[in-house]
Symmetry: D2
Subunit: 439 residues, 4 copies
């Protein structure tokens, strides 16, 4: 059973942040299968006064590039078994797991905050040294784990909501909290929400992440991510008995091997660093038959969109040419994409100032580069495109084990810091004072 | 439940051959998991007077290069469920599924005959056009099918046994019937029986196969097969986050891709045709990590042992060099091997003469080449090595669907032809007359 | 100055054969640059009564796939310097070096014989152990050598001409002697003569070669050669400064590397042996620039035309696909091609019978396979296509050093044997008796 | 004949700079073959009071990695023909073309300046639009051209020398002018001078270059270059007749192709940008023979030494492993190498201040990155290693045509700017005032 959240005063205490985080940690959901978390978030936000959209009101599922129906179905059944409301569960199953919640004050700008909800297909460590095991909030879903900190992100989001809801009458503008599904791996959550038009009217967009190599107490105002695309490429040839009629075969495996080598040999670009990776490749059925099929999962990451688009063109051409060279058919399916995005210096400065006043913050850094892609850049790019401002904030947190490892865990003190930095910045943007947002 | 076989007179009628074949077709077993067939064969041969070895008396399982324990275990349970004797089943599970049966007459030469028993991992056709479906003897074991004709081979073997047992008193010499497991794919059955010493004293060795492109009524006295080896090759590298520290990765997948291309580019050999095939390749776990492992299943087939050994050396060197070039480790495991083997012209002539007297035989061909490997060559090579004579006979049979396809079926008229050709040759070799062995 | 040939009796003695061969050996010419030989042959044949075509009457130079103008020009000047007639030299320079000579008797069939004239770009051995050096008939043309035996072929051709001319009145039919240029490497001589229509009316076509691993005294009636094609392939990309703007480059060298690997990895064909070889590859200008060009010379050799055409398609597709994969342009130019050709058993038998009567012939073999291509197959294929008969004869000759090596030399006793076998067969075909053609 | 330089007052006027530059432009020399320039420089410096080392006193030729003896010999003969002193020419031919000249004042620090002298194997443009053609100082050495600006560097060096010699009595320290050979392509000039110990006692080292994308009037105080290495790699296999005995071949060409692909597929490094380039590859002799040899020229360029050394290890392993995979031998020869080097901020600031006072200087930039290697980094690294300070200065110059193109030319106004910036900085470092060094 799920617990109950919040208190009569509408204030989220630090203990509450930890409690939220630990409950969310116990019930991880896969991309587009975050039923438990979405239900918990939606119910709490509704209770404290937010107008909440879920299902097809919150996202456009036609924008999803990659959807693992079986995994989502399993998650659905697990969440229902864990006790979530069946009506809400069905709406999310049919329309998607995004939760978008608005709190409107007097006329004024709209501030968007984004928190991601999905977990990873990792078996969580069981060792007593692993805090979630020691303190008994280890994942209860086999094969899934919050190994990136999204449980913390959601807890922070609820904490910010709590602070703001308690000050709703003072707000000169609105708040939109976006709890997005499917940020990891082959994402799609951000695009599905953008395509529902839900960042079209956002004036200030603040995305955030815990950890990322930044220590507890440090705040980075602008983290720049790489542009990235992920593809599944298939080659289809023709099997043939390799001794009776080898000439009738069309070797889809050698086509993939040749393409993989070429994709790794794409010439560097003078305008920025990049990498490509054929991370998974398989093909063929048995020793005595020409491999009639092969499949590869590949990704690339680039410092900017010029370089990203250069690689995109190269990869496409390599796949096509390799198929021709080996007499097979090829097909490439885009399963994930995130752009780079501009970030606003003024908004960064404002957040930096707010952060410096938050207890526990020991240093503020303006800018870092992160060697990874981020789905949130879709929001930042969209907001910038229509004239708004955006930043991607890193809330420092000392880590045990790296992101995406079974031993991952973060310093829970960063939850209240994150909550306060973000809430304070929102209050500042909406002309509502900033002095007391952490209590 | 199994049926009962044979008749009081010890004569196998043609209807009996068909009945045996169809029962065996219904209960296919995988390599080293032919429990049902081995039990049925052993019981019948014992009843008609053969001395029968099973389990560790019939084979040396330490010679097996590749053993799929899970599949064999499933087959064991299925066979027990189908009703075979549990004592025999356990002996075969512990010691192997080979059946070697002797019938000894007066002093004289020992004639060996070999029949193979294993089925293939193929889902049998269900169409009413497919005779086993139409006549209701389709495979009852999911995912396994006698798609090569080994069911027919065993029926012929039982038929030969029946003929010879009825004439036991006339034999100037002995008969050894070898029902071998695991001929297909990555074989091992023949080597395990040879290593138990069971062909050491064989003077005449006759192996045989139905079909192979030869029509019903035709008999080929000597079919020459290719030498072949099959390997599993593994590359082990090191995963690394492809944007954070790509330089720490050791790409086992590209090593495999490079090796696969090189293996297919081995220079031709002037002394004979060959082919190599990397039939299966897979590697890597996800897009964002340098592939830390890869695995390939490869085979090669050559017209003679000189060419076979040339390729063997090339493949070994390519795997080693590719591993070095990509900074990874490699390991190659031999999972199957069959040699070429000499065949004896005199024995072929004798069989040809016997065949010409068999009703239904329309033509006799001395020699053909078959573009495949054959585990039986291990027997022929061993017998030739100690001075005996051997041949590999093709019993023509019109086919529906090719060997190793879901639609495979053969002309059951070839069963009695095969039985009579082999039995007649045995009687001739053992000085027992040949005139009436088909009835 | 050249010597004078023949004698009053019209009989070519064996000493004459050796003298001819040695003079021709001293003045080798490259493909389409055999001016000295062609002039010598044409003058002698004219003198003894043949009707002789040279230049554009003897060949259609538009059929030439590959012509090395500079090398031919050098050969022209060398031949003029060596004293050949300038009028004839100019006709051959403008129209080609083929010589086609007819001798017509009474009405009857037309028998064609083909002899090739070109030498090889090899520096001849100087050692005293090398007979041409010891006996002072070593090549006098720097960098060229008769290292395949074509000097001997021409001497035999003149010898046959001498025998037949002396018996012209007895011939029931005609003789056509074809002295063809450019058989080696990237040939073209045969096609150019065929395209002038000069084998359209040939009823019996006999081509021949010395040596080829057959000993002095042996005659092979039918030597079957491989079908072959040779291509020059070019890739054109775009150079770029590899640090300033590597992304602007289009790497023509890696395209060629990738294509070369793929061409060597073309799957075997069940219908016959073949080999492919990228024998020469070069590309790129300097370390700091993306290679903007590459070039390869490749050939393939196949047992039959089905396999030849299969490879031809594969190579073409590989070149095209590799170019696309690497973003470059490709172009393939055919520079040589020879087919396989049928050979006639009756004509082979006749020649075999004639050969057995020739002094010095110790054995006659019907058929061998030769692992090489032969331009003469163009004649054999054409003659067979219009209903004639053809064979390719090997005149055994013990060799010192292999064909195409600086130490190559053959046993000159084979000259008179070859002369007599061919002349005798011609006389037999033309109903003119055979008994005395060697003296 | 060469002209005479300088004037009685010891002042170098701007016209003189242009005259020097144009004479040097007319007589370009290849790497280690800069006889004309070295002689002209040495004679002038001696005349104005410098102590001059040439030949083996100025460099240690055993440090040269790559020396093109034929090209140097041609240059030697051309320079002698152009009139340079034979005694000096011989000393330089035997000992090297470096010129190192000292001017010593009162005790104090030693300031080193480095100017490079070699030209490029480029055929200079002839168009009237090309200023050297229009003004008649186009290269008079066929196939060589000062297409990088080293003629200007030397003119600036002579100008600086002139200024300092005129103020010799005021200098509190010494000046060492290093005119180095062989900076381009596969360099070696700097290492050979360093190995003679001639920068061991340098306290301040200033290297410089014209142009590099910086406009006339701009000065860059510190240009950081890439670390680079260049290799020649050879593969030696075994030729074989591709139809008679292909199995005896060892394909050195496919080894190179495979290695080239792998070298271009070296994984990116998180600590910096790099590129690799197999710029030239060739192998094989003819279509019918397995390629027995191949050769490649390859280079790589990296942002720092960590990345450089990573690639160095990868390349070495790839060459070795590819050789093993294809059964051939490999050998890699280092033909050029330049490191990255630290640069000193204080020295950069001082030069920046001096530059701002020079007429014609419109802007001063502290730092840029240059995507190329620079031999001069060997000096900077050495000086830093023993505690000195160094910088690499770019003297802006508007260009016609890019560096290393036939149309390259620079704005000659930058000569006097460069002279004055460098001379002024030297005077400042040696406590000799800076106000009047440009006139």
């Amino acid at each position: 059973m799920m617990g109950e959240y919040g208190d009569a005063a509408g204030e989220a205490h630090d203990e509450q942040l930890v409690a939220w985080r630990r409950e969310l940690h116990r019930y991880p959901g896969p991309g587009f299968g975050e039923f438990y978390a979405a239900d918990m978030v939606a119910r709490y936000l509704r209770r404290i006064g937010f107008t909440v959209r879920i299902g097809s009101e919150a996202m456009d599922s036609s924008a999803i590039l990659h959807f693992d129906a079986q995994r989502v179905d399993e998650a659905y059944r697990a969440a229902v078994a864990a006790g979530i409301d069946q009506v809400a569960a069905r709406r999310m199953r049919d329309g998607g797991t995004a939760v978008v919640a608005d709190l409107c004050g007097r006329p004024g700008p709209l501030v968007g905050l984004r928190f991601d909800m999905d977990a990873l297909p990792i078996i969580e460590a069981e060792s007593a040294k692993h805090p979630p095991a020691k303190w008994r909030f280890r994942s209860e879903v086999p094969g899934l784990m919050h190994a990136c900190g999204h449980d913390g992100h959601m807890a922070i989001g609820l904490g910010v909501a709590s602070v703001l809801a308690a000050r709703a009458s003072r707000l000169n503008g609105g708040i939109r909290l976006i709890f997005q599904p499917a940020e990891e791996g082959t994402p799609g959550g951000a695009a599905s929400i953008r395509d529902r038009g839900l960042v079209d009217d956002v004036d200030y967009m603040i995305c955030s992440h815990l950890g990322l190599g930044v220590s507890t107490g440090e705040i980075v105002c602008r983290a720049y991510f790489l542009a990235t695309s992920k593809y599944r490429a298939e080659f289809r040839g023709r099997g043939a008995h390799v001794t009776n009629s080898p000439q009738d075969g069309r070797n889809a495996l050698l086509a993939a091997c040749s393409a993989a080598l070429a994709i790794h040999a794409i010439a560097p670009h003078s305008q920025g660093w990049f990498n490509t990776n054929v991370g998974v490749l398989s093909g063929g059925d048995e020793q005595g038959i020409t491999p009639s099929w092969s499949s590869m999962q590949l990704g690339f990451w680039a410092e900017n969109s010029e370089v990203h688009d250069y690689i995109d063109g190269e990869v496409s051409r390599i796949l096509r040419g390799s198929a021709i060279a080996w007499g097979v058919e090829s097909e490439a399916t885009l399963v994930g994409r995130a752009p780079t995005a501009p970030q606003n210096g003024d908004l960064a400065s404002l957040l930096g100032e707010c952060a410096e006043a938050v207890p526990g913050v020991t240093s503020v850094v303006d800018t870092i580069g992160c060697k990874a892609g981020e789905d949130a850049n879709i929001f930042l790019a969209e907001v910038a495109a229509h004239g708004g401002q955006g930043i991607y904030v890193v809330i420092g947190s000392d880590l045990r084990g790296g992101h995406h490892t079974p031993d991952f865990d973060f310093d829970e003190r960063s939850l209240s810091i994150g909550r306060s930095v973000l809430a304070s910045t929102c209050l500042s943007l909406l002309g509502a004072g900033t002095g007391d947002c952490g209590t």
